[in-house]
Amino acid sequence: MPINAKDVDWVEEPPMNFWEATFLPAVVDGLRATGHHVTHFKPVTQMYPEVASDLPKHYRGVHRLNRDDAGRVKCVACMMCATACPARCIDIVAQEAPKDDPNWVDRDKFPKSFVIDELKCIYCGMCEEACPVDAIEMTHIYDLTGMTRQEMLFDKEKLLSVFDQTKDCGLDPVRTHKGKLGPASDFEQLPTLGPATQVRSDDRSAKSATPGVIK
């Protein structure tokens, strides 16, 4: 179907004045602008290996598996992260918690194995959003290298060790998702820090009536 002539927006180019029509003043003006950048040189590039780069607070790097106060893995093997993952890089094998062990008396399940393929992962943060117990979180570690694909498959121990490395560095506080405390969270109340937990006042979730929302 042809477009109706009434629906066409005709945007006219603005008429040029004399100086614009001769082009040269505009060229000189542009040269002054580019020249100013050369003479007043203030680079925004960071000299990466020498200078640690200044990452934003919500940077999404390598995952970690949080521990609770008892040092156990916080994950309850609910598979929500694996379900949410668009890249399907999370592989969890759940195991029933040993009921006779006093350490596990408050848990139904725990992950027998928890493997994230860091090469498949697209670092979108959906797993972090999906996790009901704040067990999986993303850290500021970005310089991830390995010699083989095999060693880029991060298993439970590795992910827990990432937590041990990063929990005290200040950049990666234990977060919550969308400003709500998860049901199995070991916080009594929400920590007041961490931009990832902040909800902008114009966000829909900020106006939700659910208790535990940070205002």
């Binding site: 002539a5 066409v8 927006d9 005709w10 945007v11 008429p15 040029m16 029509a21 580019t34 050369v38």
Partner: protein
């Protein structure tokens, strides 16, 4: 000193080759210096681009990144040289060669220092030009420059790739169009100086001092020449033939390794040549008031003159490289209308003005206000013609449809 060494070398050579020794020496020097300068111009361009965009630019290889050209060259030489299966192999290999050959050949008539008088082959004076005494230097450069487009056309066609084909079609139309204003802009110079030899035009300016610089007589021609030469060299903002955003690289899409490097070498040699031409034809060449006059004969005057010329050339190169990030690329119809509706009429009027002044034997300085007036009038006419096209063109659009959007932008 140089002459004695040269004569001593000649003694060891057979008589028959004596006339060829000095040209060969100059060619060798020019080639080597040019290769080095080109690679460092690429570094300079990368650095300048970076500074203009608030980046650091290449700074890892050597101090301040000064060895980056070496690394680049090594990379180009050691990279896999891919010749795709669907190309016309002969022309594919030939094309970068033509590009480099023509641009180097054009440099043969460009003086890069004070050319001594009365040169004879084998007298041991360093000529500062590969081919001294060519009567039609400028025409020669244009002739060779018009051949340079073959490198692009053949490379693009032989690549058998739609981006390359589009690039080389654009290039051929562009080069053929911009040859006309390029040639016309120097016709005025040739008439004023009664010669087409680049050396003689330079000497004419130097003999008259600062007031003899052609920029005072031909400011309009200088602008036209500079614009057209940039278009001939396919430099931004006229690089529609390679145009990374639309054409992936245009005619050199399929090229890799040193063949690609040769195209780049050709482009930078072209930039050097047009910078030399601009500074020699319009800005007095090696002449500079007080320190490098035509009759200055103090020790080291030659070196100072070479230095002055190279400084001017360097300044022009800097301007060319700054323009790269200053002006956005033209659209193709704008490119064509700039040549055919802007530069060619202006160049023609400029030639007519020179004829007028020469015929009525006015003071040639009249050409300065006349050129400026021409430019101003052209600007006023452009103001008229740049009215919104809906009002200017045929009544295809009813005025009511766009009346309300006149200030939408």
């Amino acid at each position: 000193m140089f002459e004695q060494v040269f004569q001593w070398i000649l003694k060891w050579l057979p008589e028959a080759v004596h006339p060829y020794v000095m040209p060969m020496l100059v060619i060798a020097i020019v080639l080597q210096v040019n290769l080095g300068v080109c690679s460092y111009l690429i570094l300079l361009e990368r650095k300048l681009s970076a500074w203009m965009q608030d980046r650091h630019g290449p700074n890892r290889v050597g101090p301040m990144g000064l060895f980056q050209p070496v690394a680049d060259m090594l990379k180009l030489l050691l990279k896999e040289d891919v010749i795709p299966g669907h190309v016309n192999k002969f022309l594919f290999v030939l094309a970068p060669g033509i590009s480099v050959f023509t641009t180097f050949l054009a440099f043969a008539v460009v003086p890069f220092g004070p050319v001594p008088d009365g040169l004879t082959p084998g007298d041991g004076k360093f000529p500062f030009i590969i081919a001294p005494g060519i009567d039609l230097g400028i025409v020669f450069i244009f002739a060779i420059g018009s051949l340079a487009v073959y490198g692009i056309i053949l490379g693009g066609w032989a690549s058998n790739n739609k981006y390359s084909a589009l690039g080389c079609l654009r290039a051929s139309a562009q080069v053929v169009s911009y040859e006309i204003p390029l040639g016309m802009s120097v016709v005025g110079l040739a008439m004023l100086n009664s010669t087409m030899s680049i050396e003689k035009i330079l000497l004419n300016q130097a003999n008259q001092g600062l007031i003899g610089w052609n920029i005072w007589y031909q400011p309009l021609a200088c602008i036209i020449f500079f614009i057209a030469a940039m278009a001939e060299a396919q430099r931004l903002p006229f690089d529609l033939a390679e145009c990374e955003q639309e054409l992936i690289g245009g005619w050199h899409t399929e090229y890799s390794a040193m063949k690609w490097g040769l195209f780049f070498l050709a482009e930078y040699t072209h930039v050097i040549t047009i910078s030399f031409l601009t500074s020699i034809l319009f800005f007095g060449g090696w002449h500079f008031p007080l320190i490098a006059e035509a009759d200055s004969a103090y020790a080291g005057a030659t070196a100072v003159k070479v230095f002055v010329l190279l400084s001017k050339v360097f300044a022009v190169i800097i301007v060319i490289q700054m323009l790269r990030w200053t002006i956005p690329r033209f659209r193709f119809d704008q490119l064509m209308s700039l040549a055919w509706m802007g530069l060619i009429p202006l160049a023609t009027i400029n030639v007519v003005l020179v004829m007028f002044v020469k015929q009525f034997e006015l003071n040639t300085l009249w050409l300065f206000p006349l050129s400026i007036a021409t430019f101003v009038i052209a600007g006023l006419m452009a103001t008229q013609s740049s009215r919104p096209f809906a009002r200017r063109g045929p009544a295809a659009v009813e005025p009511a449809a766009h009346g309300g959007h006149a200030h939408a932008h």
